[in-house]
Symmetry: C2
Subunit: 165 residues, 2 copies
């Protein structure tokens, strides 16, 4: 595992990130067209409505300005201090450098600063998502729910939670 090169973390999205996010999410090979569109819609919504959208971002940028990975998160409305980690993804070309944990750390720090006590993350129960589930587990996330057949027959939703304090 190569150490990540010097990374710049950025929290304010720009129009350029619409393309960057589509590119990153598609490069992982984990998401279908509909899911990629949803990922892109979140940043579009943020650009259109600002913080009122409820979507917050952290982008990991390489020294030459490319976005290598990002996370999208925000408070869950109707809750006092629960946050949702909507997306965390690293470009396929940048995998294996520890970027995922580095982005996660920045996202959690930002959420904690916003008052988050617990963070939820959802993923699929399918075998294909084993690496995703292992990633969350290594980052201290604990499974709190399994809803069978949620996404489709044989494709359940796994919900993880991490207490930040």
């Amino acid at each position: 595992m190569t150490k990540p090169s010097i990374l710049l973390f950025r929290y304010v999205p720009s129009d350029m990130d619409i393309i960057a996010i589509r590119d990153i999410v598609a490069s992982t090979g984990f998401f279908n067209e509909e899911e990629i569109d949803i990922a892109v819609e979140l940043v579009e919504e943020r650009l259109a409505r600002g913080e009122k959208s409820g979507y917050y971002f952290v982008f990991a940028q390489t020294p030459d300005g490319r976005v290598a990975g990002y996370a999208c998160y925000g408070p869950i409305s109707g809750t006092k201090s629960s946050f949702d980690l909507y997306w965390i993804a690293v470009h396929n070309d940048e995998r294996g450098k520890g970027l995922g944990p580095a982005i996660m750390e920045k996202a959690e720090k930002a959420m904690a600063d916003m008052g988050a006590v617990q963070v939820y993350a959802e993923t699929s129960s399918r075998a294909q998502y084993k690496p995703t589930r292992s990633f969350y587990e290594k980052q201290g996330y604990v499974q709190t729910a399994l809803m069978e057949d949620f996404y489709d027959e044989g494709d359940g939703k796994v919900v993880y939670v991490k207490k930040l304090r």
Copy 2:
């Protein structure tokens, strides 16, 4: 328990329902200001964006035109055939007449017609919501998840599911 008087079920929302929904949800005494606003926003969103909003409704109307109760539901995006029952509420003046089960039946029929295989409903784990949980259980909903402290400390989220076929 008095039998419900002749009820008319209506599926197309109108501007008048904005007031009706606020009135019904507030009358139950179960929801705070923020939650009432969320209930109202769903019908506003539907009126503004049509079916693209993803919010569908069934209204139970008395012969004199008052809305006695309603349900709001819709497909969960990213899933093949899972639906969310966002709200089901009966005006406090109309309780004890079997309206809840009658509205539920119509909502489930409408969801099944739209391809729903399973319906999810969420509520609070607090003692105050025991009647709500009992209502879902009587209607054949089964608890599939309990996320502790989700809404607030000591206020968990209970997720129910019902298979429609």
